[in-house]
Symmetry: C2
Subunit: 243 residues, 2 copies
């Protein structure tokens, strides 16, 4: 028999959750969609932030659960979610977080394995109205502080997953930019994703060599500084070049 099971070791009471890292870019920094969390620990009320995530139901598969949970918590639908990593360390849940979970679910919990999903969203897209009692915010990555559970780690890993995906498919990052963007916005996005400064001249030179980034006869409007030229990403040219 190929599976020998050690009867002396106990299996945990496992729960399965999904968590969604929805990333946006405001032209200056990356932002992540967070929910306000209110709880009680040791008789004291506390408030912090968490990723949209929840336990999954018996008959759901993981991908369906991610879509449902994001919809139920934020009101958002038609979001393209990509599974990027599973987290199953027992230490990922602190005592405080475990208490909060047991209070909100009325279930005894020992281990929660979470499957993390990723989505890139245009930040200009209006947020849906979340169900009553839920507060959803785009929070800048520099301002997120310490989140519930291991959600800081999930966000860090999500950005690494974006980097890997963009290395294979450079068109991926354009999901974060407006239809028309400036060279500064594009460069800033690269700097945020790759975590290092890009030389202005080299970056400009590299980008102008890419024929799928098309310079428009238009400039920014309503800005205090000198209005910069606008560019757009041409998916057709991109696809043709990659064939």
């Amino acid at each position: 028999m190929s599976t020998s099971f050690r009867q002396d070791l106990q299996l945990a009471v496992n729960h399965i959750s999904v968590d969604c890292v929805v990333l946006g870019f405001d032209g200056e920094q990356l932002r992540v969609l967070l929910l306000k969390r209110v709880g009680e620990s040791g008789g004291q009320e506390f408030g912090d932030m968490k990723l949209p995530g929840d336990l999954i139901y018996t008959d759901e598969n993981l991908d369906d659960a991610a879509k449902r949970v994001l919809h139920e918590l934020t009101g958002m639908s038609n979001i393209n979610l990509l599974q990027f990593k599973a987290y199953g360390s027992k230490d990922r849940i602190t005592k405080k977080d475990m208490e909060w979970l047991e209070q909100t679910t009325h279930q005894h919990m020992e281990r929660i394995v979470t499957i993390a999903y990723l989505s890139l969203l245009r930040i200009s897209r209006p947020l849906a109205t979340p169900p009553a009692g839920n507060e959803v915010h785009w929070v800048g990555l520099d301002e997120i502080g310490t989140l519930a559970f291991d959600h800081n780690i999930l966000i860090r890993d999500a950005i690494e997953a974006v980097r890997h995906r963009a290395d294979i498919d450079p068109s991926y990052l354009f999901n974060l930019l407006p239809q028309k963007f400036t060279m500064l916005q594009l460069r800033t996005l690269y700097e945020r994703i790759y975590g290092k400064a890009q030389d202005v001249r080299n970056f400009h030179k590299k980008v102008t060599q890419l024929d799928y980034i098309v310079a428009l006869d238009e400039r920014e409007q309503g800005v205090a500084h000198r209005a910069a030229r606008l560019y757009r990403f041409d998916r057709k040219i991109f696809r043709r070049a990659r064939r």
Copy 2:
């Protein structure tokens, strides 16, 4: 409160497993490490094959569990395992597979979420002696037939993960080749991973332009056909070029 939990819906009795897709290449085809499985269903004995995988224990994190399970089932250690996907659909376990699991673990099961890991191995590396009762084989991908659980899907997805990783890091595939390899072996490996024929001349031309693939003053030995030139992958040159 950000997590609203529907008390009317039951949560499954969840178990967490890890499964390891260990891939090798014999110069002609990809092979995967499989275990023999023997069970009983409806009073009839059956035999088939499965990936090395098992349930994880309470205090284990996922990565440690993958290493332990692979070691316990195959005797192998020091294997670099990369998590590539989680599977949590309820239909992934057939009635027959569920019976087998309950027989071998003496546990009631409803859903098993598995976290799949991937490793590329030189097939020349001698297999460890598996624990008594376990049979481990390198099985050619064309010969695996229908495996236990959804393991055919896991293997298909693992190869896709190899492709994606190799697109970012071309050195990754050399983990599948012997230290010294022929151009035919390299081309065949590409054909197997990318699932399409490579033009012989174009492939040769492309490869000879890569300075990290070094032609040796050596030829194959002990072959019936004309002995082909041997090449090696130079990791130092590769790293320097990628800086």
